[in-house]
Each structure stands twice: as C-alpha cells, then as structure tokens.
C-alpha cells in the first residue's frame, strides 16, 4: 500500500459526499453527506500520519479534534433540523428560503 492509494480513496469519498451535499433535498441526508466528507478528511490525516511522520502522531491528534468538532456540528445541526421541521412540517432544503433576501 502506498500513500497515493489512500489519497485517491479519501478524495473519492470526499467528492461523493460533496455530490450528496449539492444534490440532496432532505436536510438529514445533507448532514449524512457532510459526515462522509468529515470521515474522508480523517482518513487522509491518518494516512499522512502513517506515511509521512509515523513517529509524530500529530495528524492522529488532529483527527481526534475533527471527530469532536463533527460531533458538536451534528448535534447542533440535528437540533436546527428538528426546529425547522416543527415550523415548516418538512425539511426539504430547497423549500426553506426564509433567510434569502
């Protein structure tokens, strides 16, 4: 296994997540796609740690912080989704435009 295979794999998963964020209508599905993107970045950080500085582990520590921040983001995101659902009886993101001009 070389670093390049991990780079290609993580980039592929990141772009799949990007496609989901751009095209999904359901807000929960958008959050699922965002989780995929977070995970691909974590995979990339750990792969860099393994192949570039295997004795440093700083990349793994950053992955820990990313996991923490992703958990916080998901918590607040789900709370916002619930609030929007209560107000609109739906969470289709292309129907929710009340913050647009």
């Amino acid at each position: 296994m070389t670093l390049y295979q991990y780079l290609a794999l993580a980039t592929l998963v990141f772009c799949i997540g990007l496609f989901g964020v751009l095209t999904r209508r359901n807000a929960v599905a958008v959050l699922i796609a965002i989780e995929l993107m977070f995970n691909s970045v974590n995979l990339l950080l750990v792969a860099f740690t393994r192949y570039i500085s295997p004795d440093g582990l700083v990349g793994q520590l950053f992955a820990v912080f990313i996991i923490v921040i992703a958990a916080a983001e998901t918590t607040v995101g789900m709370a916002i989704v619930l609030l929007v659902y209560r107000g609109f009886r739906g969470i289709q993101v292309d129907r929710i435009g009340f913050l647009k001009w």
């Binding site: 998963v13 799949i16 989901g20 095209t23 995929l36 192949y51 500085s53 295997p54 820990v64």
Partner: protein
C-alpha cells in the same frame, strides 16, 4: 496479493459502495444505515494504518453517537417511504460535474506534489503517545474542545426544546 492489500481493496469496496448508496438511495433511513457501514470501513482503515485509538473512537463516537443521532432525527422528521417526495433536487447533473471536476483537480494536485514519505516505524504505543500529547503540548485545544462540546450541548437543548415553561399569565409583562 498480500493480506494488507486484500484488506485495503475489500475495505475500499465497502467504503465507496456504502458512500455512493448513502448519497443516492431515496429512503433516508437506509442512507443512515449505509453511512454506518461506511463509518465501520473507515474504522477498519484506521486499524490498517496503525491508529488503534482512533479506530476505537471512530466506532464509539461515530457509530455509537453520531449515527444514532442521525437515525433519531430521521425518525422524528421525515415521511420515509413517500414516493412523491423527490430525494434529489433538479441539479443532479451539475452536482455530478462539480464532484467529478473536484475529484480530478484534487487528485492531480496530489499527484504532482512530492510527499516526503518517511520509512520510520510507526509509534508502538499509540494510546500512550496520544494521551501524553493531549496532556502536554495540546492541552489548550483539548480544553477548548471540551468547552465547545458543552456549548454545542446547551445550544442543541435551547434550539430544539419545546417551550414548555410555566404558562405565561396575562398580567405579567
């Protein structure tokens, strides 16, 4: 084919397949299930990359907490099997073009960079080293992360809680 490459390609199949299904299936609950599969595949990669602590954290936090939160939100909100509700907006083609262009751009940038690949042996005591770093050099980010989690928790409660305080009486202003 060595065991490592066998594990790599097996997990790659699992991760990419689950990711594609997670962003494409109509039923959001099924998408959450495929997300869990993808998260497990990433945990497998962490084991493969000598990051045992992160593999455990991945399973505990992502599969145990985040995925359950996602399923919780799915249960509380959506009409799951309503065939009239479209799963994707009308920009699937544009999104596909953007994603593929992004993939090619990043891969080309990564391939044209020369990475300083090191041949050093990976750290043997993964958990101990990470714990030492968290308590010494990275203690400030560690504390900030705990404050962030507390703020997110309180924020989620405040945002999502129904207003069920004592009924507002007419004369109190």
């Amino acid at each position: 084919m060595t065991g490592e490459s066998l594990a790599f390609y097996g997990l790659a199949f699992m991760l990419v397949g689950a990711s594609i299904l997670a962003v494409s299936v109509r039923n959001v609950f099924h998408a959450a299930m495929y997300l869990i599969l993808a998260l497990f595949a990433v945990a497998g990669y962490f084991v493969l990359l000598n990051a045992e602590f992160l593999a455990a954290v991945q399973v505990l936090i992502y599969v145990g907490a985040v995925a359950v939160l996602v399923i919780f939100a799915v249960m509380l909100t959506t009409r799951l099997t309503d065939a009239r509700v479209r799963a994707h907006n009308e920009q699937v083609g544009a999104g596909l073009v953007v994603a593929v262009a992004m993939f090619l751009a990043i891969v080309m940038a990564m391939w044209s960079t020369s990475w300083p690949i090191s041949d050093a042996a990976p750290a043997v005591d993964n958990v101990r080293t990470l714990g030492r770093m968290l308590m010494t050099r990275f203690v400030l980010p560690f504390e900030i992360a705990s404050v962030l989690l507390l703020a997110a928790m309180i924020g989620a409660i405040v945002i999502a809680a129904k207003e069920t305080g004592p009924p507002q009486s007419e004369e109190s202003t």
